[in-house]
């Protein structure tokens, strides 16, 4: 176990040089390489965080992986108009890329083609129909969306997921978020998906072709049903982000000063928002790692090969959290341990050991008495919180019944039997003596008659 901790610390030290835990290689697909200049701030931000960015347009062939080796660690698809995948790439290869641990960011736009729609559908994300856009006649930006009310100003305090604090922390955003693009909805049944940002209550999704004509039908999506940005953390902890807008990544939106009708001019929160979002997506933060799991009987040090029923034991799990290029101790008050054999027999919240300056990992521990049931138990910590890496630590341990010599030797209930056995023995001895040397010749004869 000690060697294991050492190894993990070494591993931590090694990855600390790269900011992203997955790796520095990022591939960006653009509709046209001419669009490169529009995202200058984004590239700068990414390069500052030590990414090697490869820019490609949809016409050039590219391979995400070869011989089961990923060529890239991150994929940014900023090419909503893409009709077909570039040569060597397909929806399958992107899904395989995610399954292999690669992170993906997909940005859409009203001109979005069916290629990306079908891809996002595999992630249970459904973009609205082509040529629709999110409109809001109350929260539009007076500078960029004055004409069609399509550049909307979203207040993060109201329309950003509270649960997504681990993804984009609200209080770090300098101002509201500016959005111009397509709406999407997420499958609420898919627990891996989270909406990070959704449209204001007054917003709706409508065709952007004849925006001057009156809207004579109910919009297909409106209000909070519209997700603007949502994220998925796949079961293998690869992260995927879906944006409804490529424009929100551009310099124009980064540097804009959104101003709602009747409000004061503010600073755009887009740059910070995108920074935090990409940090999350590319595994630069909110990454948890189970450094060590220890369990042993109370009063012992080493993990036993198996436990006995009703043993008192201590379970300890150490979890580290990665952010800002370093591993830090993770702290939480809701990490639970479950003892499962088909059903949970015990479920207990673990106590965090108080942190000090030296601690590099968060240690959670508890002492409990094992159930009076033998079998093969799984000591499971199944800690899944929105935005954080899924922690699923399973230790399989057998709980055995008593050995033959572990039962109490003498029990008080059996005293009558001990007495009877002893008296029987004594009786036999006495009888033998009387029979052999007692000289009861006559009485022997009568007993013999039976």
């Amino acid at each position: 176990m000690r060697a294991f901790i050492l190894l993990s610390t070494m591993a931590m030290a090694m990855v600390a040089s790269a900011t992203s835990l997955t790796g520095p290689r990022a591939l960006v697909i653009l509709d046209n390489l001419d669009d490169t200049d529009a995202y200058m701030n984004l590239w700068t931000d990414l390069q500052e965080r030590q990414y090697n960015i490869t820019l490609r347009d949809t016409s050039s062939p590219m391979e995400l992986s070869k011989y089961d080796q990923r060529h890239y660690d991150h994929l940014l698809i900023l090419s909503p108009k893409m009709k077909d995948y570039p040569k060597g790439m397909s929806a399958k290869s992107i899904v395989a890329f995610v399954a292999d641990g690669g992170n993906v960011l997909v940005a859409g736009s009203p001109e979005m083609g069916s290629t990306l729609r079908e891809l996002s559908r595999e992630f249970d994300v459904e973009y609205d129909n082509r040529y629709t856009t999110v409109l809001d006649h109350f929260n539009y930006d007076q500078n960029l969306g004055n004409k069609h009310h399509d550049a909307i100003v979203v207040n993060p305090a109201t329309y950003m997921s509270k649960a997504g604090e681990a993804i984009v922390p609200q209080d770090q955003l300098p101002g509201p978020i500016l959005f111009r693009g397509i709406a999407h909805s997420v499958n609420p049944a898919n627990s891996l998906l989270n909406s990070v940002l959704w449209a204001p209550s007054e917003a709706y999704s409508w065709e952007n072709v004849n925006l001057d004509d009156p809207a004579d039908q109910d919009p297909s999506l409106s209000g909070k049903d519209i997700s603007l940005v949502s994220v998925m953390q796949a079961r293998n902890n690869a992260r995927v982000a879906f944006l409804g807008s490529t424009e929100m990544l551009t310099d124009a939106f980064f540097e804009a000063s959104p101003k709602k009708h009747g409000d004061k001019e503010t600073i755009s929160g887009n740059r910070k928002f995108i920074e935090e979002l990409t940090k999350w997506t590319f595994q630069e933060k909110s990454v948890l790692d189970v450094v060590a799991v220890q369990h042993h009987k109370v009063g012992e040090e080493e993990a036993p090969a198996h436990y006995r029923i009703k043993d008192n034991m201590t379970y300890t799990i150490s979890i580290a959290e990665y952010h800002d290029g370093e591993w830090h101790p993770f702290s939480a008050d809701d990490v639970q341990l479950e003892l499962i054999m088909l059903d949970p027999y015990i479920r207990k919240t673990l106590d965090q050991v108080p942190l000090d300056d030296q601690s590099t990992v968060g240690t959670f521990t508890t002492t409990l008495q094992l159930p009076d049931q033998y079998g093969v138990f799984k000591f499971t910590v199944n800690y899944k919180r929105a935005g954080l890496t899924y922690v699923e630590s399973v230790t399989t341990v057998g709980i055995h019944p008593f050995r033959h010599d572990q039962y109490p030797r003498f029990i008080s209930q059996a005293k009558p039997y001990y007495t009877s056995a002893a008296s029987m023995g004594v009786g036999l001895l006495v009888f033998s003596f009387v029979y052999l040397w007692g000289g009861l010749e006559t009485s022997v004869k009568t007993t013999k008659k039976a």
Partner: protein
Amino acid sequence: MSVETTSTVARVLKPTILILIALVAISSRLFSIIRFESVIHEFDPWFNYRTTQHLVKNGFYDFWNWFDEKSWYPLGRVVGGTVYPGIMVTSAVIHNVLHFFNFPVDIRNVCVFLAPMFSGLTAFSAYLLTKELKDSSAGLLAAAFLGVAPGYISRSVAGSYDNEGIAIFLLVFTFYLWIKAVKTGSAYFGLLTALFYFYMVSAWGGYVFITNLVPLHAFTLLLMGRYSNRLYVSYSTFYAVGTLLSMQIPFVGFQPTRTSEHMAALGVFGLLQLYAFAELVRGHVTPKQFKTLLRAGVSAVAVIAVVGLTLLSFSGVIAPFTGRFYSLYDTGYAKIHIPIIASVSEHQPTAWTSFFFDLQMLIFLFPAGVYLCFKELKDEHVFIILYSVFASYFAGVMVRLMLTLTPVVCVSAAIAYSTLLDTYLEKSDHVLGTNLKPLTATNDSNGDASTDAKPTSNGTKKPHSSGKGNAKEAKATAAKADAVESKAQAKSTAAAKRYPVFNWDSRAMVILQLTWFLFMFAWHCTYVTSGSYSSPSIVLASRQQDGSQMIIDDFREAYYWLRKNTKEDAKVMSWWDYGYQMAGMANVTTLVDNNTWNNTHIATVGKAMATSEEVSYEVLRRHDVDYVLILFGGVIGYSGDDINKFLWMIRIAEGVYPNEVKETNFFTPRGEYKVDQDATPTMKNSLMYKMSYYRFAELYGGNAVDHVRQARMPSEGPKLSVLEEAYTTENWLVRIFKVKDLDVLGRSLFDATDFDKGKIRKTKKF
């Protein structure tokens, strides 16, 4: 030849013959080894082998406390407490003794050859038993019969490392000791009976047969008015010591005091004490007082016993009969109530042909032998009669119990056969006459000793007294003989009136015919042994069209694959039949195995096999199953495959999950069990069907025919989404499927599989 030379020759011949019989018994069990190799057979032996290995490796205490985490996942199995350790301990002792003398014998070979070795001992104990009943020549015949009778060979060929291998020896030997104990009335033999009874309890669940037959014998003797001090001493010793010893086996534990199966023994024990007490009282009071006392006593005891038993049974202190036991009374019981018992082929009622198949000529000599026992009707003959009646009944109810019938058949047949030989080989009637006379005399004196209340002449009879006592006894017997001389005279004259056979031609005809029967018997036994009972069943042999032999070794291929290609703690689900083999050969964790102690767990596996992919996937996930293993015989026509066993899985699952599995849904409206395109939707959707026929049609380019069920399969085979094929053996006999993980993107596995096949999902509004 003079009488002395004959006896000298006989003294040399008998051991020689016995040794030869033992050699024949051993060598006729070696077919499987010569034909295949030295492997453990079938299913249960694999468990016994695995536990023996554990015992040899880790020592006795570790074995005693062994909690096996690799079986019945995740429940585990307390092996030490759920096993009859006799056979493992026996092999381990043999192994350790051999190693002590520096014979480096592998434990596997000890296990493989254990049953044949013990069959030699069985033949010897059959000799001893029959010798007690008639004479040593009948004993030799019985030994020869039991040595080669297929009914016993079926469970004791080399490699068939099962409890029965040693249990039949113990059964016969315990019975021999019991008869000896009753005959001599010595506590020494009673104790020996108890010791061997203990060995039997440690070796096989069939010990219940002894615990019921011996008390029954005692009870019958009591009813026949043959109570004697001999009976009292032998039974009391046997019961008290035997019961205490048997309770030392953890698997038996407190059963002897708590279950109905053991109550008869306890009851007879009590009855004997009461009877003995009554006899004691009788000697001290006048007959009239005794009558009153007796009436009062009997009615009081009867009332107390009935009330007590009823109360104890209703309050649950005495467990009712187990289901396996019920099915012995009503053969239809198991089929209706406990499908898991009925599903085992060896629990089926016996077909009448198999009596002849397993016993050949013995089966018609058997009644003759029983009849001869009736003619003698000494205490030990009563025992044989009871044994044969009950064993015949049980053998008719359950195939497996043929095994307990075989020894008594051999003994009775040997008595009949040897009586025939006696009659037709005898030189003159002189011998016959002298033989018969003392026999009848002793018989009568035995009967009188218990029935007639004559304390003056009988009181001195004490079995274990010294030389003085013997003399007294002899005197008493002599007096006795005088007293009943007139009676005996009448009988012996009646016997002498039988005309012995003198003509050499009629003698020769009968003797030749009997010899011919013996030849036929030996020939039949060898034929049956070599043809039917020597297949290890983990390796199959078949003849190809050109006559050459083809060995089908798919089982070991699959198990070896599992052993080498799966992670150490991989959990493999299969029907329980293969559990022991997988644990033994593939060293993987299994969910259920041949120790069918937990019906719910087995039903859960049945449910996973019989329901649709969605339902069964949940079951598979919950039990952490990594692989599913099935048998499919459709390619080579192996009829023992899982589709043929499927109905049992469905029935067992329905017993526990009646809402999720329904047997009727697997039958077509016309009530047929079909697998082709007429199969019901439930059948086609069941995981078992899908696994069995997955890619089967492709193998034949769309024109697949299932060779077991003679069914033409649809050209499009079933699709699998939650499993993927991991391995299929050469002849498709064993198929292994891997359980897929949950989809990485959170889709259903059906959608994920469709996507991998290039299908595009339709628009969906959330």
